[in-house]
């Protein structure tokens, strides 16, 4: 807990009085956070950052070698963060979202650093939590894994159930050092009219690994997410796995561009979408600039999409090097009634049978999802099976 005190003591003046220990997060907030995998049991996490609306609520880091700070404090403490990492992978002038984030007088968001060779065994968790309606969250996160470091970061972004409208803008810059591994599991659960605009950039050095899991539970009204990854070091790899539930009124686009810039790099993008209405666009572009291997796979399932619901899948490949081995596939289908009835003939309820099939579709061929993601996928299957 030494790191916890240190983090709290070093808070900037505008937030320090609001910070509380993790076990004092109130029940309503704790329930909302649990929905997106952020828990109040510190023993199961290596670190925690919770931001409620605009202010940090709880910050703690329990592992030596894991540093967790509000981004504003990190910029004050470490000039090299601003010089080398801040707005280095995402341009502040990219669009109006980044311009809005760059214009913040005191930046919101978190800074995580895992020091050289440190492997964190328990997940670190961060939550950007919207407790009030119609607010704008503008976040800027920086995550640095130094050479040989390992971290599983669970980022849960959630609005309270009574929050229907709001804006969530987020810039995230990930720096993965040589032979370092970052597994980023992002779980979103937003109100029906919340507009969500994450902008992420990731650079991976030699032998580094970036695994990016993105799950959207409650269908938000409007999500546009096109993260970009640069595999710059020999043998670097990236995996994107995205699971989206779209429903009536949703406008969701998820992409993922990966530049394979060095020999022996590899990338895999897998999108899984279930549409119970609204518009669901699956994108993904792999750019092979070196001898590399890459595959993008988009799969969608229509479950009672209504009159104007659709899934559009556009997996993309661009090769500039003759030794780039790249492939893609896309498929969209519906649940076959004979499959549902087959399970029913074993005594299983129709809704449960549909949920089983959706769950099977969502995690088919995806190995090692882990308990957090597995539980969320089960929730999506349950929701979609009930036509929500």
């Amino acid at each position: 807990m030494k790191k916890t005190r240190s983090a709290i003591d070093n808070q900037t003046t505008n937030t320090e009085t609001d910070l509380i220990p993790l076990n004092q997060v109130d029940e309503t907030d704790a329930a909302a956070l649990a929905e997106v995998g952020v828990i109040v049991d510190a023993r199961q996490r290596s670190g925690t950052y919770i931001q409620r609306d605009h202010k940090p609520l709880c910050i703690m880091a329990q592992n030596e070698g894991l540093e967790l700070l509000p981004i504003a404090q990190a910029l004050e403490m470490y000039p090299w963060v601003r010089e080398n990492y801040y707005w280095n992978l995402v341009s502040p002038n990219q669009d109006e979202i980044t311009q809005h984030c760059a214009a913040q007088k005191v930046p919101q968001g978190f800074f995580i650093r895992v020091k050289k060779g440190v492997k964190i065994d328990k997940p670190c968790q961060a939550s950007l939590y919207m407790a009030h309606t119609n607010i704008t969250q503008a976040i800027h996160n920086i995550i640095i894994l130094e050479e040989g470091a390992e971290l599983h970061l669970i980022t849960g972004c959630v609005s309270q159930h009574q929050v229907h409208t709001g804006l969530h803008y987020a810039v995230s810059e990930h720096y993965i050092g040589k032979h370092a591994t970052l597994t980023s599991t992002m779980i979103h659960s937003w109100g029906p009219e919340v507009i969500v605009r994450p902008h992420a950039g990731t650079s991976v050095e030699e032998g580094g690994t970036f695994v990016n899991n993105y799950v959207s539970l409650r269908p938000a009204g409007d999500i546009l997410s096109r993260p970009t990854t640069w595999l710059n070091g020999k043998g670097a790899s990236a995996k994107y796995f995205t699971v989206i539930l779209g429903s009536k009124g949703s406008e969701i686009t998820t992409g993922g561009d990966v530049y394979l810039n060095a020999e022996g790099t590899s990338a895999e993008i897998a999108h899984r979408g279930v549409c119970t209405g609204g518009h669901l666009n699956q994108e993904g572009l792999l750019i092979g600039n070196a001898p590399c291997r890459a595959h993008v796979d988009c799969a969608g399932m229509l479950v009672d999409p209504g009159v104007d619901g659709y899934i559009e899948s556009i997996p993309g490949l661009r090769a500039t090097h003759p030794d780039a081995r790249m492939s893609h596939e896309a498929s969209i289908g519906k649940i076959a009634p004979e499959e549902v009835e087959y399970l029913q003939s074993r005594g299983i309820e129709e809704r449960e049978a549909i949920s089983m099939i959706i769950r099977g579709f969502l995690d088919a061929d995806i190995e090692g999802l882990g308990p957090e993601l597995d539980a969320r996928i089960a929730e999506i299957a349950e929701l979609a099976g009930h036509g929500e």
Binding site: E339, E341, L343, Q344, S345, R346, G347, I348
Partner: protein, 252 residues
């Protein structure tokens, strides 16, 4: 014996075309009946209709189970009343594994876990538990998987669609043993068998199961009923058209 299944004047349409034209069939509890007939005569349609699958629209008549009209019940409700089916060509369900269905039956008290392990070993399906249901299985493996699921869910009335189709001689022995066990006499008093309806083309299955009665379906109607061995032997030597000239004169 009381009647377990009663099909009354059943007319069924598939994709707007009438396939069954007034079928009447009664199966008393504890009896196993065999259903013969040429391809396309409506045997599978009858079985699927009894199970309640969509796509088989009943336009006239009724299906009664244990005295209750189940014509309007869905598939789950029929399964929970005690009707089960082993399909000839069951669908492959990507991402849903065999163990999930078996676990469901165990979790709902239909089969003790230890007994499931014994049945799995008997069916030689241990290696298929974590594979997609029916995915990439041979004909014999599909039969064993389907019969295993019935042995685990323990329906009062079990239907089999061509359990001997696409099965080699060696595998047939195993399928036969499983079916024999499924339809074996229960040690109750008075002793009784599980009730069943078995579609067979080759008749091989009759070497393993003692059928109490046979029926011939022709062009969507039950054209003949009687001794299953006699019917099958006549069909083999003379063809179904001759057979249904009612060789034994037994009424349905």
């Amino acid at each position: 014996m009381s009647t377990l299944l009663e099909v009354r004047d059943l007319h069924v349409e598939v994709a707007g075309e009438e396939i069954l034209h007034g079928v009447d069939l009664t199966i008393p509890e504890g009896e196993v009946h065999a259903l013969f007939g040429p391809n396309g005569s409506g045997k599978t349609s009858l079985m699927m209709t009894i199970m309640g699958f969509s796509g088989y629209e009943i336009t006239q008549g009724a299906v009664l189970f244990d005295g209750k009209d189940i014509t309007d019940l869905d598939v789950t409700e029929r399964a929970r009343l005690g009707i089960g089916v082993a399909q000839q060509r069951p669908p492959t369900i990507t991402g849903v594994q065999l163990h999930q269905v078996l676990d469901y039956a165990v979790d709902n008290g239909l089969c003790p876990r230890e007994h499931l392990q014994e049945l799995l070993a008997q069916a030689r399906l241990d290696d298929f538990l974590t594979r997609d249901i029916n995915g990439g299985l041979s004909g014999g493996e599909i039969r064993r998987s389907e019969i295993l699921q019935l042995m685990v869910t323990q329906p009062r009335f079990a239907m089999m669609d061509e359990p001997d189709s696409g099965v080699d001689v060696e595998a047939m022995k195993l399928v036969g043993q499983m079916l024999n066990e499924l339809f074996s006499l229960e040690t109750s008093h008075p002793a009784k068998r599980r009730t069943g309806l078995i579609i067979t083309h080759t008749g091989q299955i009759l070497n393993y199961i003692q059928a109490d009665k046979g029926h011939v379906m022709m062009r969507g109607e039950l054209a003949c009923s009687g001794n299953p061995r006699l019917i099958f032997d006549t069909a083999c030597t003379s063809g179904y058209e001759i057979c249904v000239q009612c060789i034994n004169g037994v009424e349905v």
